[in-house]
């Protein structure tokens, strides 16, 4: 069922009505003012299911204008089904230019990755967030976790890391690895691999986080300190691979594992398809010269 263009006649620019966008922008401003703090907002129903990026979509819809160029990635790639679906949604309801090039985009909506190429002050990164509460896994109740944030009562986060080391010899959290923002709020970076955590630290681009089902928005303003929680003698570290990307040869990017047969055969390729494509193009160019 592909919506035809005429089914969208009568909807406002970027789907949401202007009142709603203003409400969301106010939440965003508050979030920027208190880095890492989860601002409740009156999330709307979207024509995509909860858990599929409704928070990110609402944030994007509220900040995007006709002059923007939008890039949407899921798992680092522009061609994954959900990224295609969301990009198509905005191309239809906002009639904005879309791109797969990280450098050309002014707004990048992402699920589970930060692009490999460093972002600039002229860009905004919008994260889709499933569970905004980093304390959720130690304390399920909202009434408690809000108090813990207010009182900066975060000892329990290190208890979890301590347990990993005691039982497994190392910190075992590999994605959605909790961070402390601007030395104050502990924040869920959304399920990006911890490989991407260092990119958040002092990033020139504004980072906005939208959780639609949980109705929370939070932000990391440009050039803000973002520290991954760790111990002095078990410092935070990122994933590494024994392989290079099979397509572009990169040894510095996050790699996806692709199963090629049922005998244990594997190959590794960049998860960031734009980054990988650019490198391949450059290599082809070099070879041609």
């Amino acid at each position: 069922m592909r919506p035809s263009d005429d089914t969208l006649a009568g909807y406002n620019f970027a789907y949401l009505d202007e009142q709603t966008k203003r409400m969301i922008r106010r939440a965003i401003l508050k979030a920027v003012a208190i880095p890492g703090y989860q601002v409740p907002f009156a999330g709307r129903e979207m024509p995509l299911p909860y858990g599929w990026g409704t928070g990110g979509i609402q944030v994007t819809a509220s900040i995007i204008g006709p002059d923007d160029t939008l890039k949407v990635i899921d798992q680092g790639a522009d061609d994954t089904t959900n990224a295609v679906s969301i990009r198509r949604f905005f191309a239809t309801v906002a009639d904005v230019a879309t791109t797969e090039k990280t450098t050309e985009a002014t707004v990048i909506q992402t699920r589970h990755r930060i692009p490999e190429k460093p972002l600039t002050e002229d860009q905004i990164l919008v994260y889709q967030v499933p569970i905004p509460e980093p304390l959720r896994w130690m304390e399920a109740r909202e009434t408690e976790t809000r108090k813990m944030h207010a009182l900066e009562d975060y000892g329990v986060m290190h208890v979890k890391l301590y347990e990993d080391i005691a039982h497994l010899g190392r910190i075992a959290t590999s994605y959605d690895y909790p961070v402390k923002v601007n030395g104050r709020y502990v924040m869920a970076p959304s399920p990006i691999p911890k490989f991407d955590n260092p990119k958040m630290d002092r990033m020139p681009a504004l980072q906005l986080f939208g959780a639609g089902r949980e109705k929370r928005i939070y932000a990391v303003p440009p050039y803000t300190r973002v520290d991954s929680l760790d111990f002095e003698d078990h410092p935070f570290e990122v994933q590494t691979w024994d392989h290079a990307c099979a397509l572009c040869g990169s040894t510095e990017s996050y790699l996806d594992e692709v199963v090629i047969d049922d005998q244990g055969g594997r190959m590794y390729v960049c998860s960031d398809t734009d980054f990988c494509g650019d490198r391949q193009a450059a290599q082809a160019q070099e070879a041609a010269e």
Binding site: M1, R2, P3, S4, T7, L8, P47, L48, P49, Q75, A77, T81, N82, V84, S85, F89, I131, E133, R136, W137, E139, A140, H167, L168, G169, A172, D256, E257, V258, V259, I260, D261, D262, Q263, G264, V269, S271
Partner: protein, 366 residues
Amino acid sequence: MYVAVKGGERAIDNAHRLLDHERRGDAAVPELSLAQIKEQMTLAVDRVMTEGSLYDRDLAALAIKQARGDLMEAIFLLRAYRTTLPRLAVSEPIDTARMTVRRRISATYKDLPGGQVLGPTFDYTHRLLDFRLAAETDAPPPEPERAEARQDETVPRVTDLLNHEGLIEHERPADAAPVGDITREPLSFPAGRDVRLQTLARGDEGWLLGLAYSTQRGYGRTHPFAGEIRMGEVAVEIVPEELGFAIDIGEVTVTECQMINQFKGSKAAPPQFTRGYGLTFGHGERKAMAMALVDRSLRAEDLGEDLVAPAQDQEFVLSHCDNVEASGFVQHLKLPHYVDFQGELVTVRTLRKDHDKRQEAADAAE
């Protein structure tokens, strides 16, 4: 009109006639055919077959028609019919690796042997009412491109791929103990995984969905990944005693979900992912996924995890997951309870009199 229940025989007959009438609706509109329900309400049929635990599309369509589209009522009808059927044979376990796959996706690998096959899915549709459907033209939708059907090809399961590396727990091999049968023996606690899975398979989709969701929100988290969801046709085989070998008696459509969950390990035991399993008749991936999450949660005790959340409590989950039971008991409150209520009325009136007397005495004393 409400009539006192004694002598209400005529009232009941009339109510039933009225029900028939309501079901039919406006006689000027053509009657719904079972074929239409079977072909155009396929997911309703699938749900009724799954929770009715009987694979028969015609009967499920009939039940839906008779129940005026109330799926729980239809499930009840099918279940009540099923219980009258003789048991002729017990099939061999179906082999989902040999499924003729119509949909197969993995959230854990970008690509894998057999590929990602989207198949017919709502997943990437935008939820906008499509008013073209209101036009009811007879023109069929444009023909989709179809991949060539892969015949007799085994599509390896993602969990099997992980198993090669020892990265996921082994599914315990069938031991000597016979597999339980919840249609023949009452549920007793603690229930083994066989009985739990059977109960969940016919359990209410909404109930399981809510419980599964609660685990994702921290009430008994299991760190799930949708390792694989596949839907398609599998052969059903039986071994007749007189033959001694398996023969194919037909095929059924099933949806299978294999969740890959939180790994366990210690300094002594190497870490391994754990599993949750879900299976439905027809195309029922929401239910299959919810079932897999709840299955994993119910294994908490076996895996030495703390029991802290509702979804981990097998008595709570299993005792309340059957919507035929639940619907019946909730709605039984409509039955006359005059006698009990009369008893309560008398008691409350007596107590109020006592209270008034005490109050009067107290007022008089002041």
